[in-house]
Point group: C2
Chain length 354, copies 2
C-alpha cells in the first residue's frame, strides 16, 4: 500500500512520525508492506514552493492508496493574502481529491471523561459520528468576492442535488453500521439549500428502511449537542454546519487531543487527519499528543485498506496505554498517571502492538 504523508506545520510533523512508527509496527506484525512518501502542504509549502498546495503534492496523493495529514497553519502565515494561506492547501486537497465525506467519530475515553466540561450524567453514553459534507457549500461556492468597489461582499452556498444525495447516502450507510439512527441537520425553515437537503433525505429514507430518521434545525442541534449528546448516533449535515457542530461536539467528551477524522470519496481512497490543529504554541517541544494522529491512521487501516483487525489493535493499544495512566501534557488524567512526551507515548503504543 502506497501512503502519502503530508505532515504540514507545527506539531503536524511530530505526530506524523508517530503514525509512521505505529504503521510500521502493524506492517511487521501482520506482514503488510506500507510504503511512505512525504510531501509538503500548508505553511511549509508556502515557504518552500510559494503555494500552500504544490502540484506535485496533489499528483502524489492521486497516485496513492491513502493520505495521512498532520495539521496546517500558524501565526507566520496568518496575515497572508487568501491564496497564500495554509488553509487553502487543506481546502484545495479536499476538493482536488473529491473528498466529499468527512467522518468525525466522537466518543469519550473512560479515563478522560472526567475532563469533560459537561456533567458526567449529561455526557455519559455519548458516542456519535458527525458526517460532514466537505467539498461544497459556502466554503467553495462562487462568487466569493468584494463587489461595488469594495462596498459589499458576497459568498455563495451552492449545492447540486447529486452532491447532497451522495453525502446523505453516506450518512445512511454509516447509520446502518452503527445504531441505525440518522439525524439530518439543516435550516430548512429559512434556506432553500436546506429545503432541497431535507427533500433528498426524505426521498432516500425508503432505501434504508432499517434507519430511523429525524430532522433537526442547526440552531436546535447546537443546543441538543450540549443538553443531551447521547441522543445522537449519526448526524449528517452540510459543510459549514458540520464545521461548527463537529468542533462543538469535539469538546464534549474531554478528549479533543484524541479525535481522528476521515475524509472519503466514493471508493476506498481517503485522507485521514486529527481534529486538532497545528498547535504552534507547543510545536518543537516533543510534548504533542500523537494519539489523534495514530487513531487517524487506524481509521485509514479500516476505511481505505479494510484491515479491521489491524485497526482494532491500534485502537486497543491506545486505550490500554491510557488505561495504564500514561498521558501527554494536554490530557487531564485522574490520579497519579505518568506524563510522557510524544516519543515515549508512541513507543508505548508500539510496544503494546508488538
Amino acid at each position: 500500500k502506497q501512503i502519502v504523508l503530508l505532515p504540514g506545520d507545527g506539531i503536524g510533523t511530530e505526530v506524523m512520525d508517530s503514525a509512521k512508527e505505529v504503521l510500521n509496527a502493524i506492517a511487521d506484525e501482520f506482514n503488510h508492506t506500507f510504503t511512505f512518501s512525504t510531501y509538503d502542504i500548508g505553511g511549509v509549502a508556502i515557504d518552500k514552493h510559494g503555494t500552500p498546495l504544490p502540484d506535485e503534492t496533489t499528483a502524489a496523493c492521486k497516485e496513492a492508496d491513502a493520505v495521512l495529514l498532520g495539521a496546517v497553519g500558524g501565526p507566520k502565515w496568518d496575515n497572508n493574502p487568501s491564496h497564500l494561506r495554509p488553509e487553502r492547501g487543506l481546502l484545495g486537497i479536499r476538493k482536488e481529491l473529491g473528498l466529499f465525506a468527512n467522518l468525525r467519530p466522537i466518543k469519550g475515553f473512560p479515563t478522560l471523561l472526567h475532563a469533560s466540561p459537561l456533567k458526567e450524567h449529561v455526557v455519559d453514553g455519548s458516542d456519535l459520528l458527525i458526517v460532514r459534507e466537505l467539498t461544497g457549500g459556502l466554503y467553495f461556492g462562487t462568487p466569493s468576492e468584494r463587489q461595488n468597489d469594495g462596498q459589499s461582499v458576497v459568498d455563495t452556498l451552492a449545492y447540486t442535488r447529486k452532491e447532497i444525495e451522495r453525502i446523505v447516502d453516506k450518512g445512511f450507510q454509516c447509520a446502518q453500521l452503527r445504531r441505525k439512527k440518522l439525524t439530518s441537520v439543516d435550516k430548512a425553515n429559512v434556506l432553500e439549500s436546506s429545503k432541497l437537503w431535507r427533500e433528498v433525505v426524505e426521498e432516500k429514507k425508503a432505501q434504508y428502511p432499517d434507519v430511523t430518521v429525524e430532522h433537526v434545525l442547526v440552531d436546535a442541534a447546537a443546543m441538543k449537542l450540549i443538553t443531551n449528546p447521547a441522543q445522537f448516533d449519526v448526524m449528517v449535515t452540510e459543510n459549514m454546519f458540520g464545521d461548527i457542530l463537529s468542533d462543538e461536539a469535539s469538546v464534549l467528551t474531554g478528549s479533543l487531543g484524541m479525535l481522528p477524522s476521515a475524509s472519503l470519496r466514493e471508493d476506498s481512497f481517503g485522507l485521514y487527519e486529527p481534529v486538532h490543529g497545528s498547535a504552534p504554541d507547543i510545536a518543537g517541544q516533543g510534548i504533542a499528543n500523537p494519539l489523534a494522529m495514530i487513531l487517524s491512521a487506524a481509521l485509514m487501516l479500516k476505511h481505505s485498506f479494510h484491515l479491521e483487525n489491524e485497526a482494532n489493535l491500534v485502537e486497543s493499544a491506545v486505550k490500554a496505554v491510557l488505561d495504564e495512566g500514561y498521558h501527554t501534557a494536554d490530557l487531564n488524567i485522574l490520579g497519579n498517571g505518568q506524563k510522557v512526551g510524544t516519543e515515549k507515548m508512541t513507543e508505548l503504543v508500539v510496544q503494546f502492538i508488538k
Copy 2:
C-alpha cells in the same frame, strides 16, 4: 408610549398576557401610560389573513414606540410552502422594521445554575451578551433558489460594508457599557465576507480605545463557549453564526426558559421577544413560563423607553420570586420550591412590583 403586541402562536399568547400585566403594574407604580394594541403574526396570521405578516401588522409596528413578540410556529404550518411559513413573519418583520441588531444577554440565575449541563466550575461567572446581525447574510441574500431544473440550489451570503459597520459599532458600544471586551466571530480563513468583517472590526478599533478586541473563528467559538464561557463579555457576529452560537449559548446556564432578547435599529425603537419558541406541546395548558417574556418587556423599558429603574424593578421581581422557590414546570429548582402555573407566576411578579 404605544406598544404593539404580537403574541403569535402556541404559548406566545399566554406569556404575552403576563407581560402586559407586568407592564400595567409598572405603569401604575411609576405613573406612566402604556397603550397596547394587538396584531397577528406567524401561524395565526396565516390562518386569519393568508399571510404570516399582514400589512396592517407591519404598519402598526411602524407607528409604535416598541413591539413585544411572543413566539411563532407550530406543527400545523410545518409543511407549508416557504412563503406561508410562520418564520417568514419573523424574518419579514425584522427586515421591514430594520432591526439589524439582535441582543441576547446570557447570564445564569443562581437558583437555576445547578440545572446547567456544564460543570459548576465551568459555567461559574458566565455573563455574556451575543450581538447578532439580524437582517443580512445568508438568511436574506438573493438568489436563494433552485437552479438547473431543480438539479442545483443556491443561497447567498451578502453584506454591504455599511451593514457590517453598524453592527460592529453596536458590538463595541455594548462592550463599553459592560466589561469592555469584544469577541468578533467570523470564518476569515475561508469566507470573503468574514474577511471584510474582520477588516471593519480592525478599522473600528481606534474609535473604541477602551475596548479590548479579539477575533475568534466560528468553529473555535463553538468550542470555547462550552469549555470556558466565562471568558466572553460581548460577542459580535453575523446573522447565521449568531443564530447558531446564541442558541448554543442559551443552554449553558440552565435557564433557557428565562432568556429575553432585543432586536434594535439605530434609534430607540425595538422589538423584544423571548429566546424560547412557541412550545406547541404545552400550549393552552396554563403552565408556560412567562419570565422570558416578562424579562423581554424589561429590556424594552430599558432600551426603548430608557426607564432604567422600572426595568431594574422588573428584573429584581423575577429574581426575588425565583429566590423564594417559585418555579414553572420547565425550571429545575433545587430543594422544595413551589411549582406554579403561568398566571400565578405572573401574579407573584406583579405583587413584588406593587
